[in-house]
């Protein structure tokens, strides 16, 4: 049976010196945070490094932790900041530049993303599984901010408002990013659906 304590309560306990509370928190969120970083960077080595940095930052920031928001919002904000630092170090396009991309230019090539010809698709179960794998692969073609918004919603289960807080952007911006992400993914998947 899982621990009924909330994430915020566990973090407060850890802040006050209860190391076991951190173990529970880490077990709850290690997978989602790791996948969030992995799908953002696309490289396991980089994801490992960022993952460790994110949790180390959370450990070092525990004394100033206040439960003013959800713990996951706080944690994914640390992760988003670390990602931004990573992109800057790598000289990738800035968030503002990608924000200006129009929908069509960012649209992935459906034909390139397609992994198998339609006539080779198995029955319905196999088709759905293929669709799911296709979606995950299509994520890489999304602009960084849209991918980040989608992953925060799908992995972190954050609301639009929480995504805005985690990414340090306004509500409308977060909503726009998420909407474009959904549209592009559906546009891609529509080609695969019968």
């Amino acid at each position: 049976m899982g621990d009924a304590r909330t994430d915020e309560g566990l973090m407060l306990q850890y802040r006050d010196g209860d190391a076991a509370a951190f173990d529970i928190l880490y077990a709850r969120h290690r997978g989602s945070v790791y996948r969030f970083l992995l799908h953002q960077t696309g490289k396991r080595e980089v994801a490992d490094e960022l993952f460790q940095d994110v949790w180390m930052r959370a450990i070092n920031a525990r004394s100033g932790y206040q439960p003013t928001a959800k713990f996951t919002t706080w944690l994914y904000r640390i992760a988003s900041n670390r990602l931004t630092d990573h992109y800057r170090q790598q000289g990738l396009r800035s968030a503002h530049e990608t924000e200006l991309d129009d929908e069509e230019s960012a649209m992935p090539d459906a034909q390139d993303a397609q992994q198998a010809p339609r006539h080779e698709q198995p029955p319905q179960m196999m088709e759905r599984q293929q669709l799911a794998h296709r979606l995950v692969s299509a994520l890489e073609a999304l602009p960084l901010e849209q991918r980040q918004a989608f992953l925060l919603a799908a992995e972190g289960e954050l609301t639009v408002e929480e995504i805005g807080r985690a990414c340090d952007v306004g509500y409308e911006t977060a909503k726009s990013r998420l909407r474009y992400a959904y549209q592009r993914l559906r546009h891609l998947l529509s080609d695969l659906r019968p």
Binding site: Y14, R15, D16, G17, D18, A19, F22, D23, Y26, R30, G31, Y34, R35, L38, H39, D48, F51, Q52, W55, M56, I59, N60, R62, S63, R128, Q129, L131, A132, H133, R134, L135, V136, L139, F150, A153, A154, V160, K175, S176, L178, R179, Y182, Q183, L185, R186, H187, L189, S190
Partner: protein, 285 residues
């Protein structure tokens, strides 16, 4: 074709597809161990250095400390006010006593005469009053008034000069040398000196007036005492002369009469003694 979505609601179908399609990617166990060790080490370090403990201690004791400090300040202020009130009350009593004595002295014709007639003799008589232990009669009221000032207000005013003299002695003793003159009550003497120093200018003026008035009363009282002593002495001498005359010792009786006449030229021998001397035959020693 793109299906329109409500932007506020997550796309549940896409999320479900994503979860089905993702591999169960997890961090390496070594990475987990490293992070968990760091987390535990951080709390251990805090326990050793007490950083979090110090913060918690301060946060826990901050309201208690505030309450204690406020209580101490409040207590100090209250005690200070109470002390000040006591001092003011005592000063008021002193001033009231002096004013009462002054008014009594003014209302007493004898005292007023004394004030008018004996300004030069006042210091000497005041000193006589100060030498209270040597003079039993004025010493008692001086001591009693000095020890409890409120008694002067409740004591019956049978003799106007008695409370006036007592008040004068008290005022004089307070101003000059109460601690020397009243060794039995040195703390009160010190208090009196403090209160006298704390009096305002207005009160000082009133006291000075009262003192001037009471000095005259002291003079009258001292003169009265002298007269009384002299009268007692005269009575004793006359009694002695009568005894000698009855015993027929006319020579000794005449000698005493001569001493009295020498001391007081206006002395007139009482008729009964003259009759005794004339009736009984004289015999010498």
């Amino acid at each position: 074709m793109t299906t329109p979505q409500r932007p506020q609601q997550p796309d549940a179908e896409l999320h479900a597809l994503y979860r089905e399609g993702r591999e169960d990617e997890l961090p390496a166990p070594e990475l987990d161990q490293r992070i968990l060790r760091a987390a535990h080490a951080a709390t251990s370090t805090e326990r050793v250095h007490g950083t979090t403990g110090t913060t918690s201690w301060w946060r826990a004791w901050r309201p208690v400390t505030s309450v204690v400090v406020a209580g101490v300040i409040g207590l100090a202020v209250t005690l200070n006010v109470m002390q000040q009130q006591q001092t003011d009350e005592f000063s008021d009593r002193q001033a009231t006593t002096a004013e009462t004595a002054a008014s009594r002295a003014k209302s007493s014709p004898a005292a007023a005469d004394s004030v008018a007639a004996a300004p030069a003799a006042a210091p000497a008589l005041a000193e006589l009053a100060i030498r209270a232990p040597a003079a039993p009669v004025p010493a008692a009221p001086v001591a009693s008034v000095a020890m409890s000032p409120e008694r002067s207000q409740v004591a019956p005013a049978e003799n106007v000069t008695a409370p006036a003299a007592a008040t004068a002695a008290e005022a004089f003793a307070t101003k000059k040398a109460s601690s020397e003159l009243l060794p039995a009550a040195p703390p009160f003497a010190n208090q009196t000196a403090d209160v006298a120093a704390a009096l305002s200018d207005k009160e000082s003026i009133g006291r000075a007036k009262a003192e001037l008035s009471t000095r005259g009363v002291v003079s009258a009282q001292a003169a009265s005492v002298e007269r009384e002593v002299a009268a007692n002495d005269l009575e004793q001498k006359l009694k002695q002369i009568r005894d000698l005359a009855r015993a027929g010792k006319h020579t000794e009786a005449s000698e005493l009469i001569r001493q009295l006449q020498h001391r007081d030229p206006t002395f007139v021998l009482p008729e009964d003694i003259e009759a005794l001397l004339a009736a009984s035959p004289g015999k010498s020693k």
